[in-house]
């Protein structure tokens, strides 16, 4: 069942200048993106910085105005023109656990915020809910009176998770949820999120640039470049059978821990890099943008040019 459907999403930021501060051009942060997320899966959105993956996530969340396109959630249109509704069924986990928690608020107030906004509970019930949520994310229920700076990065991210699941959402957008954390803590948080997904039957939109993490987490993956999709497919298709030259290069860049293969890997990467430079014009149009996606199999779509 399709939970989220994004149809030809465009987010352009105006560049102002000239006389009277008119709009003279636009940064096409997201430029015609289509994808669907099914109930219960983890969908990975991958791309380099500036490729528009975070903007896509924020647009779905309703934090950005969109320029064009439609966002459907459970077959219901979310956006009216450029404004996207904020829904309690969609929640977000932010990249930086240090700035996403208000430093002046106690953990209790931070986690209770969504509950206070949507549900009328007595103080006692509210406190019990917050404590339940805290133990659900593996923090001690006694910590409700602490301030965010008294926690480590991993613990803070867990507070962010507790806040996001407080309303029992259906879709959680995770914007690079572990890129600000230690590698040792990353695995801990990721595994915990997978457990949580099974427990609460959640659907994740997982935004990341870390392919290792994406491979660990996601069922289906979309690769973005310059605001457009270059390839979309299941995890196996992307990692074992990348079709687009950009995807190939990304996959080749995943580090290998075996030192014996270092030379081979190096040569392989050089080879892929040469292929990338040589065939860049075949895979991208004259503006350096990806072509329209074309299906290869039922699940695998690649941005390849029309061949006559």
């Amino acid at each position: 069942m399709t939970l989220l459907k994004v149809n030809d999403l465009k987010v352009h930021f105006p560049i102002r200048g000239g006389i009277l501060n008119r709009k003279i051009d636009a940064i096409r942060a997201v430029d015609g993106v289509n994808f669907e997320i099914r109930q219960g899966e983890t969908y990975g959105l991958v791309g380099e910085s500036g490729s528009g993956k975070t903007t896509t996530g924020k647009a779905v969340m309703g934090l950005n105005n969109i320029t064009d396109g439609e966002i459907y959630f459970e077959n219901e249109l979310l956006n009216k023109g450029s404004k996207v509704n904020i829904r309690r069924d969609i929640q977000m986990i932010f990249q930086d656990p240090y700035s996403s928690l208000n430093p002046r608020k106690r953990v209790f107030d931070i986690i209770a915020e969504p509950i206070r906004n949507y549900e009328k509970l007595s103080k006692q019930e509210e406190k019990r809910r917050v404590q339940e949520l805290l133990s659900q994310v593996g923090l001690s229920p006694e910590s409700i009176l602490k301030y965010p700076h008294e926690f480590s990065g991993g613990q803070r991210q867990r507070i962010g998770v507790a806040r996001a699941i407080a309303l029992k959402p259906k879709l959680i957008i995770m914007d690079e949820p572990v890129s600000a954390l230690d590698v040792s803590v990353q695995a801990q948080v990721l595994n915990f999120m997978q457990e949580l997904q099974e427990e609460l039957n959640l659907t994740y939109l997982f935004i990341s640039h870390d392919l290792g993490v994406v491979k660990h987490m996601c069922d289906r993956i979309g690769i973005m470049y310059n605001g457009r999709y270059v390839e979309e497919g299941t995890k196996e298709e992307i990692f074992n059978d990348p079709q687009h030259i950009y995807t190939k290069r990304l996959v080749a860049a995943i580090p290998d821990i075996d030192p014996k293969r270092r030379q081979d890997n190096f040569k392989f990467r050089e080879q892929v890099k040469d292929e990338f430079t040589n065939s860049y014009n075949d895979y991208f149009d004259e503006d350096g943008l990806a072509y329209q996606l074309k299906p290869i199999t039922d699940t695998h779509r690649v941005a390849l040019p029309e061949r006559g």
């Binding site: 924020k58 969340m61 309703g62 934090l63 904020i86 309690r88 969609i90 929640q91 977000m92 932010f94 990249q95 930086d96 700035s99 996403s100 928690l101 208000n102 430093p103 002046r104 608020k105 915020e113 969504p114 906004n117 949507y118 301030y147 700076h149 008294e150 962010g160 806040r163 309303l167």
Partner: protein, 310 residues
């Protein structure tokens, strides 16, 4: 014996550790400020001095009868300080000490009122402008610019002339109308920064309204800035009031303030020979402004962890 001693040592160590733990809990904003004040002796003395003056002045002016103090007494003109008149009298035979008390009270009251009123207007204006940004910010900031280009003293003179019932309140309102823009600009720039932080966006995703985010999320994070600016503004506002009164556009002559006492110096003979009329007021203005500033500086350092001395 020795065992008992070790036992005692252990208990002591445990107790110390517990105390240390208590210490480690992050100190509240007030505690931080208090530590900073204790460390900075000058600020501590300033604070004590300011509180003392405030209490004495407000207390004394409750006891003193204003009509009595400002009554003209032709038999006691220009008396130097004596037992009867602690700080002598002015050209109307009025007691300078009584005028000084009531005058300082009036000046301080004006200072507090103007700081508070301009603070409230400035903070609301600035935070709304900075948070929403875009067209709202543009429009509100043009209003600020408009008030900025108005000639402050000229307009105060006009207002003072046309307002019929003239009191502490009306005077504060007139002053406030021209003194809120600085705070508004400062708070706006800070609010612009704060709203970009993830926690403000997170609040949106959690379903909080803009009003809620502004006043419950963003505002608590800029309180330290507000407190610091308002303290430093207090000193400035006392000075501005004195200046206006000196020029004769503050309080009327029958309502004493620090400025009206100073304005007696327009008479050169008073300036040269009758020091008791103006010197106490001048010294008091200087000391009050300095002490408020010292406390404000300590507050400023306490608000910024990198500048703290304690």
């Amino acid at each position: 014996m020795s065992q008992k001693q070790t036992q005692g040592d252990i208990e002591k160590a445990v107790k110390e550790q517990q105390e240390e733990k208590q210490e480690q809990k992050s100190p509240s904003g007030f505690r931080i400020f208090w530590r900073e004040i204790l460390k900075d002796k000058l600020a501590l003395v300033s604070l004590i001095f300011f509180v003392l003056i405030t209490v004495v002045v407000f207390g004394a002016s409750e006891i003193l009868d204003k009509a009595e103090v400002t009554r003209v007494d032709p038999f006691n003109i220009y008396q130097p300080p004596s037992d009867e008149f602690l700080l002598g009298t002015d050209q109307g035979g009025r007691d300078i000490f009584g005028q000084l008390m009531i005058g300082t009270r009036n000046s301080l009251a004006i200072g507090f009122l103007v700081t508070l009123l301009s603070g409230i207007i400035g903070v609301v204006f600035g935070v709304v402008s900075g948070y929403f940004g875009g067209h709202i910010d543009n429009a509100l900031m043009r209003v600020v610019d408009f008030f900025m280009v108005l000639p402050f003293i000229m307009l105060v003179i006009v207002f003072v002339a046309i307002v019929p019932k003239y009191s502490i309140w009306t005077f504060s309102l007139i002053m406030t109308a021209f003194l809120w823009m600085g705070i508004a600009r400062l708070i706006r720039s800070k609010a612009l920064q704060e709203k970009e932080l993830d926690y403000a966006q997170a609040s949106r995703t959690l379903g909080s309204s803009h009003t809620k985010i502004i006043f419950k999320q963003v505002l608590p994070n800029i309180t330290s800035l507000i407190v610091v600016t308002m303290t430093l503004n207090l000193a400035a506002n006392i000075g501005i009031e004195s200046g206006l009164s000196f020029l004769g556009f503050g309080f009327p002559k029958d309502t004493p303030s620090l400025g009206t006492l100073l304005s007696y110096t327009t008479n050169p003979i008073t300036l040269e020979e009758r020091w008791w009329i103006w010197l106490p007021a001048a010294v008091l203005i200087l000391l009050l402004m300095l002490s408020v500033r010292n406390v404000g500086e300590a507050l400023k350092r306490a608000a910024d962890a990198r500048q703290r001395r304690a």
